[in-house]
């Protein structure tokens, strides 16, 4: 295989596995930028994956055909948003430790999604979905030499949705009044409060939006990669998304870049076994490659990342 062939294998695979991570990490960015730490991304993603699998299946039954996964995305967005509500209530209104509340959300998702799967299907996993998000060449763009092959051929529409949404979130956070408020609430909620901004409401909106994104991430994982939902469908991707968010310094585009980096590292580790030079390296080195690279990157060139100042702290009026 020549270099370009290798790239042509690695890059599209990276983009594919990155899409769910990008979306979930965006969910994390929204939530944490408003000052609410979200360790619950894994759970939100899991619940989204569950909903995605269930409703794509139902969509097929209802005769929606190729529209089924897209319908399930809509439901997963709503479900993710709803599923984030307990975390929002606990950590915003009830002033719970946000990390812990997020952990609880993970436990809840794991328990509830399988419990419901068993209830709905009498089985520990959902039926396989048939209508998956397909790959395709983007018209025109795929014809561009090199770039077309790498980025626009054999690509998922959902990957473009993810990248597009990253820019949307960036726009929201950095360009709109709501974004300004969201960030202020995450940095200095009391200052925001004195400026007449409703801290509680802003945080609720952000956490719930974050849930919607993570839910979508999970659903897309099912519809584009996994094909159904089991207890192990989402096993760690949410944590990787969390890592991507931190790696990306709580910036939407940074998070996207980090997710793509993870995807690249992972697909390199998989394709690596097929590359003559890397072939003789024991499996385990390639398996741990993405994680080691991440740590090295953080210690080396990315350096310290500062979380939003108020993240992790419940806001109480008048408390110093």
């Amino acid at each position: 295989m020549d270099f370009f062939q290798i790239l042509a294998l690695i890059v599209p695979a990276a983009i594919v596995s990155a899409a769910p991570l990008i979306l979930t990490a965006l969910g994390g960015v929204l939530s944490e930028r408003s000052g609410v730490v979200n360790i619950g991304l894994e759970g939100l993603m899991m619940f989204g994956a569950f909903i995605g699998a269930v409703f794509t299946h139902y969509g097929e039954q209802w005769g929606l055909g190729g529209g089924s996964p897209w319908m399930s995305f809509v439901v997963a967005i709503v479900a993710g948003a709803l599923f984030a509500v307990p975390h929002a209530v606990a950590s915003i209104s009830l002033k719970a430790d946000q990390v812990v509340s997020g952990v609880a959300l993970n436990f809840l998702a794991a328990g509830l999604s399988i419990f419901l799967t068993k209830k709905l299907f009498g089985a520990g996993q959902t039926p396989d979905i048939q209508e998956r998000i397909g790959k395709g060449d983007v018209p025109v763009l795929s014809k561009i030499p090199v770039i077309g092959d790498l980025f626009f051929s054999n690509a998922y529409s959902t990957s473009f949705v993810a990248v597009f949404l990253a820019f949307v979130v960036w726009y929201i956070i950095y360009k709109t009044p709501f974004g300004l408020r969201l960030r202020s609430v995450g940095e200095h909620p009391m200052a925001a409060d004195t400026m007449g901004i409703n801290v509680i409401k802003t945080r609720y909106i952000s956490v719930i939006m974050g849930g919607a994104f993570a839910g979508l991430g999970g659903a897309i994982y099912v519809a584009s990669i996994a094909g159904n939902f089991t207890g192990s469908t989402i096993s760690g991707q949410g944590f990787m998304a969390l890592a991507a968010m931190i790696f990306g310094k709580w910036h939407p585009l940074g998070a996207m870049g980090a997710a793509l980096f993870f995807g690249l590292a992972q697909s390199l580790s998989i394709t690596g076994e097929q590359i003559p030079l890397l072939k003789d390296i024991p499996d385990v080195y390639l398996l741990i490659l993405p994680y080691v690279l991440t740590i090295l990157a953080l210690a080396g060139f990315v350096g310290r990342a500062d979380a939003p100042k108020a993240s992790g702290q419940p806001y109480e009026k008048g408390k110093r």
Binding site: Q5, L9, V16, A123, G124, Q125, G134, K135, G136, A226
Partner: protein
């Protein structure tokens, strides 16, 4: 299930001698679309055939973690189940322990061997079944490139790999075989990435023995087929025809009839012929392994080849390799 010696907590009517049989799944659960499910199907059929009651006379317990195996096996033994299956080689140690502690219990283990007098070990000749699908792959590849995706590199999965490779080479000595292990049975995106690489390198058929990771292989195959580049997947353990629909990418599947084995051993035990201390091996002979009933995608020639070699294996004309070493010898012999 309380008390130590009333012996029939869940069987309150006291039919102490009634034959009761149960199984413990591994973490996959009875609907894993794999051997747990097969085993349960076998047990259900056995139960139905013998007018037994589900949930009391025959039942399963699911494990959510590896540490659950022992308590689950134990609780069934305590509840006076006359035969308790552990499904999957992961339970080997736990079955062995319980067998030693409870010499009166009758236990059975699927996919591995426990040399105890009160344990029946059930194994399969996966390599033989894999050899057959290998033949089909060798015959039907148009690119002369096929792939094998394994879940975790292990003795068991090696049987699949080596049998398959031997089959491919037998039918098509020129064929190139890509092999990769995902290191995981539950990472669909890895399966997909590996399949992407294989297909990208020109393979048109991939055989997977990778559980949930294999789902990613199907996803990739379906994607490619949808876009007009028809590629195939060979399923494993059960007939995975459904998984390939609607793009119809399942070429065939290597089925492993755990259901038959469970049914068979249950029958023997009920009849008082518990094969304790023995290893019951299910191969082509007992239809314990083979190719799936859905055959429409398999060419006539390939089917003929399958029949031909099935006979050869049964007659002992050829021995299908299980390990890397055996495969090397096999390959060397072929070249001669």
């Amino acid at each position: 299930a309380c008390g130590k010696d009333d012996g029939g907590g869940s069987n309150a009517d006291g039919k102490k001698d009634a034959f009761k049989v149960a199984m413990v799944t591994d973490t996959g659960g009875v609907d894993d679309k794999s051997f747990n499910q097969s085993a349960w199907e076998g047990l259900q059929k056995f139960g139905k055939d013998n007018n037994m009651k589900k949930g009391t006379d025959f039942k399963y317990l699911q494990s959510t973690a590896a540490s659950d195996y022992a308590p689950n096996i134990n609780s069934l033994v305590r509840d006076n189940y006359k035969l308790v299956y552990g499904i999957g080689f992961l339970m080997q140690q736990d079955i062995q322990k319980v067998a030693k502690q409870q010499p009166k219990a009758q236990l059975a283990l699927v996919d591995s061997v426990v040399p105890e007098k009160n344990v029946a070990s059930i194994t399969f000749k996966e390599h033989e079944g894999s050899f057959l699908v290998g033949l089909i792959a060798g015959m039907q590849t148009k690119t002369n490139k096929v792939g094998f995706v394994g879940g975790v590199d292990s003795e068991l999965i090696k049987k699949f790999e080596n049998g398959f490779k031997a089959g491919v080479k037998t039918a098509n000595p020129k064929a190139e075989i890509f092999v990769q292990y995902a290191g995981d049975f539950n990472k669909a995106e890895k399966g997909q990435a590996i399949a992407n690489t294989f297909y990208g390198k020109g393979a048109d058929i991939i055989y997977h023995a990778a559980g949930g990771t294999g789902k990613g292989v199907f996803t990739e195959a379906k994607n490619r087929s949808k876009n007009g580049k028809k590629v195939w997947v060979i399923g494993v353990d059960r007939d995975q025809h459904e998984e390939g629909m609607p793009e119809d990418v399942t070429l065939t599947s290597m089925v492993k009839r755990v259901d038959k084995a469970v049914e068979e051993v249950s029958k023997q035990t009920m009849d008082g012929k518990f094969p304790g201390g023995k290893t019951v091996e299910f191969g082509l002979d007992q239809d314990g392994v083979g190719i799936a009933p859905h055959k429409e995608n398999v060419s006539k020639d390939a089917l003929a080849k399958v029949d031909e070699y099935k006979k050869k294996i049964q007659d002992g004309d050829i021995t299908v390799p299980k390990t890397d070493k055996e495969y090397k010898t096999f390959e060397a012999n072929m070249k001669k």
